[in-house]
Symmetry: none
Subunit: 221 residues, 4 copies
Amino acid sequence: MTAAKPGAGTRDGKPGAGTRDGKPGAGTRGAGRPRSAEKDAAILKAALDLLASHGYTRMSLSQVAEAAQVSKSTIHLRWKTKADLLTAALAALRMADAPAPSGDTRAELIAILEDFAATVERVRGMALIGTCLAEEAHTPELLALLRERTVLPRRALLRQVLEQARERGEILPDADLEGAVSALLGPYYADYMAASSPRSGWARAAVDLVLAGLRAGSDTR
Amino acid sequence: MTAAKPGAGTRDGKPGAGTRDGKPGAGTRGAGRPRSAEKDAAILKAALDLLASHGYTRMSLSQVAEAAQVSKSTIHLRWKTKADLLTAALAALRMADAPAPSGDTRAELIAILEDFAATVERVRGMALIGTCLAEEAHTPELLALLRERTVLPRRALLRQVLEQARERGEILPDADLEGAVSALLGPYYADYMAASSPRSGWARAAVDLVLAGLRAGSDTR
Amino acid sequence: MTAAKPGAGTRDGKPGAGTRDGKPGAGTRGAGRPRSAEKDAAILKAALDLLASHGYTRMSLSQVAEAAQVSKSTIHLRWKTKADLLTAALAALRMADAPAPSGDTRAELIAILEDFAATVERVRGMALIGTCLAEEAHTPELLALLRERTVLPRRALLRQVLEQARERGEILPDADLEGAVSALLGPYYADYMAASSPRSGWARAAVDLVLAGLRAGSDTR
Amino acid sequence: MTAAKPGAGTRDGKPGAGTRDGKPGAGTRGAGRPRSAEKDAAILKAALDLLASHGYTRMSLSQVAEAAQVSKSTIHLRWKTKADLLTAALAALRMADAPAPSGDTRAELIAILEDFAATVERVRGMALIGTCLAEEAHTPELLALLRERTVLPRRALLRQVLEQARERGEILPDADLEGAVSALLGPYYADYMAASSPRSGWARAAVDLVLAGLRAGSDTR
DNA sequence: TATGAATGAGTGTTCATTCAT
DNA sequence: TATGAATGAACACTCATTCAT
């Protein structure tokens, strides 16, 4: 969950923006001053920060404009509405890279979970998640993007490690891997709901619980 | 997570509640026109509905007033501020009762988790949770109350069942019960983050995983 | 400028109030509980205090009610509107008594002026005056009553002393006494406008100036 | 006490005034749409009118907006708060110029006093003064500005004339000039308090009284 | 009589958005 | 392109007043 490097692919999710996009002669840069890429990036970064710290409705475009050192109109020139801007800001989120594969399933899973927790704390992730959940009925794109850019990639990472473990015979061949992924990540959310901070060692405990369950199977089912 | 019946102990946190104390049959009823209990209830219900469907900042007292068929002033007569009102609305949430103890640990845990999921879905609980998370920095009372009234009681229920199982020797004596509780509830949150609806059978799977883990212990730690 | 003793003549200026006034059989007290005279007085006192400290529009009937320890409705029962109440409160103002006549014109004038200044300061008189001036276009009764109850009686006192001095031949027989009264009081206002507090010795200086002028006449007219 | 010509130095105390500094012919005019000077003036004029006719608290920004034919937001763009706006409106008051010095002390003083009275009547000055007095406890800037912009300059004018008279030996060398100034202006206020209009010839009478007093001294002190 | 509930009109202020330069 | 001005709609909250007990 980090802001993508500016300049590469940041135009994604900018719905009504590109006035140049329909122009003939690809390659021609068009007349007039080109849009500043620095400003693009500064606006998106400011928007994301404010989204996490103030929430969707409490943040204002004036605040974004001030933080990004541009005028409000400059924002509207790029994104038609507030929702468009914040959608784009979320779209610029990027997952951290996968950890180096060590062959040690347990260690790899713990590393991923701890990186997850660290990232969430670094970017006030729970507030951001809360905002997207709260807005789900009103601006579903926010939650959709959060999923696409952060939740699902992280889940895929975990799943990959579990699949390798399965191939190595470390866990049962018919194990429910999606369920296992939720069992790995879930305790973090549950802990936060109980106390705004995870129990220390939560990641280790979650991994051990899941590995034990997948290894042994459960004989009461 | 259900709105408490009006008239029974719902006066908590109502600042300007006046002289009445809700006790029936107390002879002295205080001077002046009595406050309408129907309006109390209608306001709280409308507030909670709107809180879940629009979020804290997007909902307005005008909307509450209209939904509850009262004037805005009538709301302000009862609660000084918007935060007071919504705090009271959350405080009026009530946990479902504990399920009848059957002696079957697995069945009891599953029942609690399925009731949890049903309640969350009935009151748009994830949007409510999202709102409280999003407002944590700004109106921490919301999350605090949500915890106190819904999260912690549910956790206590789960813990109680686990403690009984420990007494019966069904799980290891040194098992980390708090961690187990988070492992039971967590998958619901994780599933919601992945897809806005839990995998079918999530509760059963979570219970089996946890019971297996607690029974076997984990030998890799 | 002091609040009149409660119970004596405080019903003056209560326009639409007396529901009993039209009743037949003077002397019959009517059925039901009689209106509390203490409350009358407490309300008027609170109203006057608040009028001086907050001004007409900034004070609220709730504040009056709280200060007087009655309900808002009790106020409306006696006076139909806010303006009625404050008019009545001003009507309850009373001038201080005339100083004992000493035969010393200069000393008597100074005494009156210093009492004037002291009274103004004691009751935040300039704020009260300001309120009445500010409301002149909207609620002219306020300024009218302030005049009738405080300004004109004070002027009459001063005029009386000057008339005695004229009879004794201390000042010119054709002196403009109204102008002299304004010349005596005016410097206080002018000083306040310049600095919110009169120059020390202003009263003495004003009296000396006026007496000198009236004694000598002015030879340039 | 007249509204200053728009465009010349009226930007004092305008918080969000932006990049323009009012200097003409400066080549760089700043980016974006220029702020309408007509609106500036219309708002200030409307604010001052309403301040005098309704008083601080009774007037509303909606009224100002309607009278000035602008939106409320346009007002807030220029001044952050109601107090800021009215402070600026008062700050835009300007004293009339000094009368041509004629060498005739008496005539000059009378001219100043009559201009004072005329100005007060033209801008509903006593209501304005009343508002500032009434608000002294709550918004002291109003009275402070009224003093700085109108009261003190007028007093300085009077004092100047008196000083010249002293230099010419027309009045006693040790005369209390501040007291004399208050004695000149005071009768106007005192008359207004008595009857909402000065006695005819008040200015002449005040000047004669003061000059007589300063010429003769007062032998009873 | 006296009380507290209830309300409609109104407050100053903020905001996302559009317009003119 | 980029800016600042301008705006309509909405916001939480207050008030004097009327109603029901």
